[in-house]
Symmetry: C2
Subunit: 307 residues, 2 copies
């Protein structure tokens, strides 16, 4: 049962999830490119993988690859530009998948619904529709797995993500958990996404998401005490996305301490954007707007790693 | 200049580094197997890789592989038993190296200088010379990279590890930095090894160790404030290994807060032993004694990953 309050809140952060034509990766990319889709990609084109984007000057690329290798849970590197300056072709970092199988017919500068632009590590443009004017021959794009990719599997098991039920962008938070530094990328901390579940559902949620190694895998923490340990002081004020709600449409934070529904945290591909801002990098860096991902051509079962 | 106090301390934790015959992996393994070498392996057989060991009942193997994949800095998985119950042959997890190239002619139950034995997640045997009587047909051995492996490279650059200069076992510490959980492995935290360096040497130390991805790579933190952040309250009381010294043979902790020499921390392959103890696993688990590694046949240059 969704209250009127919720409906209003949802309208402010609405996602046209049910656009029946957006059922494949390429359809979503085209809709973003021609400006007909500009909202969150959560729930779009079920089973098609979605990717976080970070686009760096080439001199930072080597350190960034090592940064991802050392922090694979928040930063599971799936692919990168096939060469410096290429926005239309990627090479794969996923064993068993070619770059072309991950995504083809792509324009990385225009195919996400919204972008962020950073200059000299400061955010200078929020939620712009493309980054064509900022892209240069010296840029390298990196595609990083996204936890939206396991939401089809959760929904199939009767564990649909709350933000998806409520038609909202999922909440994301900064934490105080340090990442392993690599080259210029020092002093960064995890960003996490959050979905509330009952304590009795945690085992199933962990088991279902664990095989999605390339898209953050199982949660990194769960419970109200975990929220505190991560340094999240108020669950109702996420750093990105919409505040989380109970099924009755109430703020989740009203239930702090209750065991009925607890927050469950996953590594989040917004982490590199935080890392970039903390690393004092020079030049222009681009990224997707949190929650507004690049849709891929490969499917969730292509990257599931069975035990 | 090494003070008399230090000499006594060193004698208690001495390592016969200079045994000229122990210059290859197989020579060290044989010396361990026949009981003629029982001390730390730091400094032995330079350029030959060394490995941490953890030996688990097979039912925990799948979760452990995922645990390593999610925490590759403290737990860089290099190889495992070629099949359940095999202690004499490994299969490789390192791209470009076969199991046989990593180590052959091995008896994992006897070829480390000293072992630890855990039963139902409690430590029941400390520093025994072999684990032949505990090994069963159901055990799987995992070999995890060791930071001794980049010490030859550091020494070559004039940055010899302090514990190696002082002929001691390197200090290792528990921290409060959480690891990413995987299946039964929850609630674990990083274990780190420490080597003191001058602040002006940090950049070189980071650059030299960064390419050793398979053996912990570059440091995860450095500085006195980092020690505090990691939850290390007293640098002079490591949880494993010998207390660290200045070059003058004084306790390093006398210099807390000074910028002259600062502690530098790396991920440590003792981490899985901590994880096992916190995970409440059933049955018999074996491991090397911290600082007392299994020597391999491959060389440090075999696993260096250039940018």
């Amino acid at each position: 049962m969704i209250s009127e309050t919720t409906t209003v809140a949802s309208a402010q952060t609405h996602a046209p999830h049910r656009l029946v034509s957006l059922v494949t990766g390429v359809a979503v990319r085209e809709a973003c490119r021609n400006g007909t889709h500009t909202e969150t990609t959560s729930g779009l084109a079920p089973t098609y993988l979605q990717a976080n984007l970070i686009i760096l000057p080439s001199r930072y690329a080597a350190d960034f690859r090592i940064f991802c290798a050392r922090n694979p849970v928040p930063c599971p590197l799936m692919a990168e530009s096939s060469a410096v300056g290429r926005f239309d072709e990627v090479k794969s970092w996923v064993a068993g998948l070619s770059g072309e199988e991950i995504v083809s017919q792509v324009d990385i500068r225009r195919d996400a619904p919204k972008y962020m632009v950073y200059r000299d590590s400061k955010l200078v443009k929020v939620e712009c529709s493309d980054v064509v004017e900022h892209w240069t021959e010296d840029h390298v794009a990196f595609l990083i797995g996204c936890s939206f990719s396991f939401e089809s599997a959760l929904a199939k098991a009767g564990l649909e993500a709350r933000h998806s039920i409520m038609n909202r962008t999922n909440p994301m938070y900064r934490t105080n958990i340090p990442l392993c530094p690599a080259g210029v990328f020092t002093s960064s901390t995890y960003v996490v996404s959050m979905r509330p579940y009952k304590r009795t559902e945690i085992e199933a949620v962990r088991n279902i998401t664990q095989p999605y190694i390339a898209t953050h895998g199982e949660p990194i923490a769960w419970g109200w005490d975990a929220a505190e340990r991560l340094g999240i002081s108020n669950i109702d004020t996420p750093d990105w996305g919409a505040p989380p709600l109970t099924l009755a449409g109430r703020p989740l934070g009203e239930h702090v301490g209750s065991e009925d529904e607890i927050p469950v945290f996953w590594g989040c591909g917004v982490t590199p954007q935080e890392a970039v801002m903390k690393a004092d990098l020079k030049g222009t860096i681009m990224a997707h707007a949190p929650g507004h991902m690049l849709l891929l051509d490969c499917r969730d079962w292509n990257i599931v790693k069975e035990k």
